[in-house]
Symmetry: C2
Subunit: 314 residues, 2 copies
Amino acid sequence: MYIGVDVGGMSIKAGLVSSDGILTHKKVIKTDVTKPGEGICLDIARLIEDLTKNNGYALKDIEGIGVGIPGSVYDEKGVVRYCCNINMINTPLVQILKDELAIENIKVSNDASCALLGEVKFGAAKGFNNVVLVTIGTGIGTGLYIDGKLFRGVQSAGGECGHTTIIVDGQECGCGKLGHFEAYASATALLRQVQDAADLHPESKLNELIARDGLSGFTIFQAMDLDDETAKQVYKQYIKYLGTGIVNLINVFYPEVILLGGGISREGEVLLEPLTQYIRDNVFGMKYNPPVEIKTATLFNDAGIIGAAALSME
Amino acid sequence: MYIGVDVGGMSIKAGLVSSDGILTHKKVIKTDVTKPGEGICLDIARLIEDLTKNNGYALKDIEGIGVGIPGSVYDEKGVVRYCCNINMINTPLVQILKDELAIENIKVSNDASCALLGEVKFGAAKGFNNVVLVTIGTGIGTGLYIDGKLFRGVQSAGGECGHTTIIVDGQECGCGKLGHFEAYASATALLRQVQDAADLHPESKLNELIARDGLSGFTIFQAMDLDDETAKQVYKQYIKYLGTGIVNLINVFYPEVILLGGGISREGEVLLEPLTQYIRDNVFGMKYNPPVEIKTATLFNDAGIIGAAALSME
């Protein structure tokens, strides 16, 4: 049995995962962001102990542990280099867990890399060797799988495709820089674009819906179902932003598959159809090039846990 | 002895290159862009025969031939997929050359990939395993060297970093799409930016220089030497465009070295100093990450020939 841990700014989720990628048991705790990084590592160790014992296992039954972190990780050293929303700077996470749990096979990586590995081993990208995952959430996370291996550059310091500029001097990103892909194509960015459009068009059904039910990730889709012109315009522009970042990734990496994750990816064809069209129209030399599949991830919320566990199966 | 061929829209250059990367003899012909792709391949074959015989060699003395093409190449099949300024579409270049020359070891790749390989084997990037080359010329060419291997994605269809968008709905690129890195940071783009600024500021020394001597790649640097404010502003903005594209590449690939090629790279510190500063200020998480060296290429005009030859030494 393996354990995957998905660390987030709000919660830390751990799960028991079989060698064929089945998540059998899960336990979630709140992330105590007031603690220093070492304290969070100790919380993770306790969570792993609880998960193991509560479900009839002993630590010696665990063949490997993988941890996904929403930040920059020096995979090869097992160190979390830094993390925006958790207090980790050069935190030796793997060493701390080894000391606490006396288990040798413990690995850590960026959370989007973990999610991608989960999809490649057990999900939507099974059998592919060249895959790019774009996770649309609070930010934009990207996982890169090249020639059958996770890729994040020298000392795993790269792979930050959400923090590439698509508009010089554009909107401020969560990281403080301007015009990043994430600042235009994250779920957070879409919500902002929806609110701005509703404010500009108080007569729109979009604005009516927000006034009645409040703003959520579904509002834009509800308003489009009502044939609201404002909503359709906002969404068209959003597809252009998202499409631009993905076309950039294709022009550079030219993978076999682009995998979309995050809540919005569950919208299915409403997302896939216009996005695929935008990509076809804009990839450099598309008509001479091999096809690229645009698919949605299938492991959803458990991708992080299953993928982290998969990290320790490598 | 090896032969490297550097195919361009204006000329085709071929050279005899020793196994330690020394270019001993060179021959150049004009590119006949009116010919179909197969005709150009035959011209290349004749050029190789002439180069060999005129310098006291026979074809059987040639251990390998490499060809660099300014377009999309399916390296593994030896086929030029397409090329903007030469009439090649799915042209089986390697097969044609093998049939004509009866030499087995013949390879073809994108010209920027070749130039990068030359720099890695014999030039400024010797000893490095992770290098990105940005060649600033009529367009922006990029070569990617990852974990000791050239990288261009599935079927070598990627690596087109010059055609990534840095300004959504921005300036038109040579390829017809909008807002690409190439449309803002190529030498051609800089010339356009200089001319536009001179038109807007007829009182500037920049405008005086253009009126007196005409516009060249040196004008902007001459005007800056004269302390011209207009020239300084244009150049600052150009560094931002060039820096943005390079920061994007670092955030994604995180190489050990960024190598700059093309005419402007010969300006040395006038280019390197502000560009390095821009990169330091803008790479995601730079203060926690390993350093990235920003260097200029050293093989200059011969990089294409030497690198193409290096392709056949692999």
